[in-house]
Amino acid sequence: MPGISDTTQRSATISVLVDNEAGVLARVIGLFSGRGYNIDSLTVAPVDEAGRRSRINIVTSGTSMVIEQIKAQLDRLVPVHRVADLTMDGPHVARELALVKVICTGEQRVEALQVGTSFRARVVDTTLGSFVFELTGATEKIDAFIELMRNLGLAEVSRSGIAALARGTRVI
């Protein structure tokens, strides 16, 4: 584990379990903007049956000291129950969903479909001049797919941001 005074930048996927009360997301986002921390991705949704708890997944980056500080700052918010650094606590899976619209005709249509197949993307909407692909996977995979589509009529992208869980029996 890198020491607290290590100055190299790292990325961290942090999961936060919060009370699903008014303003809680604003509190978390305000913490990041107010203290100058990065948000590379953020997702939030209720995760228990009663809808009382939400899980917020945040991908951020900074030195070890900054990331420890981010965790401590999150932890002191009153509606926050648990904060876990999935990157440091062990292996984890992180996935996101993307909807990718390409507008193309002729040769490009065929090629776009082929790329889609090789990425296991689903076609969720088709017209004579366009496709919408649905794709889930790691951020890098989605980045790579979008990159390839740039030359094939990429028109619009909508991404969910990442959802993440620890591997194995661990829960936060």
């Binding site: 008014a22 305000g30 107010g34 500080q69 401590a72 932890d75 002191r76 009153v78």
Partner: protein, 592 residues
């Protein structure tokens, strides 16, 4: 079927406040809180103190809270009432003061419509509070009040806002008794035994130790200060306090090095710079303490005890972090120290103390007062005399301050033996804090001597509270060190900006004696040194509120000073000393 509801939201609110032990509430009325004022009118157990500006209500509640250890309570109206309170809320947040502030709000069905006197109070105060609530359902009202008091006073204390739409306080609401608990907020207070053992092992082997204790020890209650004193005496270690920690250790004790930091003593800062083991307790390594971070106490191993994990490893990396209440951690340290048979390095400690005594010989706080008739009063001398004369009177003394040079001179020259006697705005540095804070202190301690040590510029920021002093016959003493400048800013201009005194002259000052009189108080003035003692005695003897306008040396600067961006061993000493220390770097110029 639910029992029939008989009480309005406002009545439920007051009942909840009573059950939380609230005796005094500082406030100012307006449309959105009329039902609450109506309920206040019809009861006797909670006393309402009408301030003259909502910012002052919060500072008064801060003074009340800091001097008693209880939660301070505030009530303001919606819109401008709430926005006026914001400075006070941030002040309390920065200095970890427990406050519950009730704000009126437009009725729930109008929220978001730009209704009359509507402001997004929870939005505005989110970064200004430890937590805030908007009550949207009558059945939440009592529970939220109890929770707010819990949150304000547990863990790291801070301000909590409860925004109350008008319909919520008008309509009937059910009551819920306090449970003394919070459903989920559980700050850690017990120290980890292994970390305590590690800390004691490190402390026992220390050759050049220091205890650096801050406001968190005061937050932890008077028992924590007593334990700190016992721990320091048991170990024989030198100890220094932050501005916020003053009073947590008796200033008269020979082990006390005085305040550290930007305007701290030479010995305190050099001890921090040269120590090999540092025990930080309830102190947050503020930039006023550390100076240039990469030069801060490089050779030491650091133990840091703080109730808030985010204070640890924030500015300075530490070796042994301990998240705990200061009092509980000190009790554990003391027990572990006594139980450990590891030897202490007595010869090393003795030579450390010899070194410290040599540093003390610098007498970094010394100044020269011209005692001849007509001699200009040195501000330090005025504080020293105020201290000596009040001490001789053996009365309980509480000091508040405004912000500036006078604040630092008060910290340096007024010695505190006990906690909760010193109220100052440290983190936010809010000019205008001292007078309203003194009101709050005086209300909590009606028979004590409460003195606001002020500057002529700061005092004008909440001068309207003279009216509150008069209305409630609060005999607060305002002791103005009048240098006719925003002295602290003037000092920076002298040292950093080529003596170009841009907009820092206190022009068109009021006649403070007449001003006092027009507010039904007593005014007095000292122009030169031979008048000082008589004015101090007259002020202390006076049964009413007093403004004592003390004309002091306009050119005096506050030393020692570690300029921004400099290290502890690059301290500037005053004109009494040989030229010293660092110049100010360009990087330093950009800092505050």
């Amino acid at each position: 079927m639910a029992a029939e509801l008989t009480q309005s939201g406002a009545e439920i609110l007051l009942r909840a406040l009573r059950d939380q032990g609230v005796e005094v509430i500082f406030g100012y009325p307006g449309g959105a809180v009329l039902p609450i004022y109506d309920a206040l009118f019809q009861q006797n157990s909670i006393r309402h103190i009408l301030v003259r500006h909502e910012q002052a209500a919060v500072h008064a509640a801060e003074g009340y809270a800091r001097s008693t250890g209880r939660v301070g309570c505030v009530l303001v109206t919606s819109g401008p009432g709430a926005t006026n309170a914001v400075t006070g809320l941030v002040d309390a947040l920065m200095d970890s003061i427990p406050i519950v502030c009730l704000t009126g709000q437009v009725p729930t069905h109008l929220i978001g419509n730009d209704a009359f006197q509507e402001a997004d109070t929870t939005g505005i105060t989110r970064p200004a509070t430890k937590h805030n609530y908007l009550v949207k359902r009558p059945e939440d009202l009592a529970r939220v009040v109890h929770e707010a008091f819990y949150v304000a006073s547990h863990g790291r204390p801070g301000p909590v806002v409860i925004d109350l739409p008008k319909d919520i306080v008008i309509n009937k609401a059910p009551y819920a008794e306090p449970t003394g608990q919070h459903p989920s907020y559980r700050p850690r207070t017990e120290p980890d035994a292994d970390q305590i053992a590690k800390a004691v092992a490190l402390l026992k082997g220390a050759k050049r130790p220091v205890i650096y204790a801050g406001g968190g020890v005061i937050n932890a209650g008077p028992e924590a200060s007593a334990l700190l004193t016992e721990f320091a005496r048991t170990t024989g270690f030198p100890i220094t306090n932050t501005l916020m920690g003053l009073g947590s250790y008796p200033a008269s004790d020979p082990q006390f090095l005085g305040m550290l930091g930007m305007h701290g003593t030479y010995e305190a800062n050099l001890v921090m710079h040269g120590c090999d083991v540092m025990l930080a307790i309830g102190a947050r390594f503020d930039d006023r303490i550390t100076g240039r971070l990469d030069a801060f106490s490089q050779g030491s191993q650091k133990i840091h005890i703080d109730i808030d994990g985010s204070s640890i490893n924030k500015n300075v990396a530490v070796d042994i972090p301990i998240v705990a209440d200061a009092g509980k951690a000190l009790a554990a340290l003391l027990a572990a120290w006594k139980a450990s048979d590891a030897p202490v390095d007595k010869p090393a400690l003795a030579s450390w103390w010899r070194q410290i005594d040599a540093w003390r010989e610098k007498k970094s706080l010394k100044f020269t007062q011209d005692m001849k008739r007509g001699g200009i009063i040195k501000p330090q001398y005025a504080i020293q005399r105020l201290y000596e004369i009040t001490r001789a009177r053996k009365q309980e003394v509480f000091i508040t301050t405004e912000v500036g040079q006078h604040q630092m001179w008060a910290a340096q020259h007024f010695n505190f033996e006990k906690p909760n006697r010193w109220m100052t705005s440290g983190g936010l540095g809010t000019m205008g804090y001292g007078l309203p804070a003194a009101m709050g202190v005086q209300l909590a301690h009606p028979d004590a001597l409460v003195i606001d040590i002020a500057g002529e510029a700061s005092i004008q920021m909440n001068i309207q509270e003279m009216g509150t002093l008069a209305q409630y016959r609060l005999p607060v003493k305002i002791f103005i060190l009048n240098n006719q400048y925003m002295g602290m800013v003037r000092q920076w201009q002298e040292l950093l900006h080529g003596s170009r005194y841009s907009e820092t002259y206190s022009n068109a000052l009021p006649d403070f004696v007449k001003l006092a009189e027009s507010y039904h108080a007593t005014g007095m003035r000292a122009q030169s040194v031979e008048e000082l003692d008589a004015v101090i005695h007259a002020m202390l003897d006076c049964p009413t509120a007093v403004i004592a306008d003390i004309a002091v040396d306009q050119a005096e600067n506050c030393f020692p000073m570690i300029p921004s961006g400099a290290a502890h061993n690059e301290m500037l000493l005053g004109p009494e000393h040989e030229a010293s220390g660092a110049g100010i770097t360009d990087a330093g110029l950009a800092l505050v």
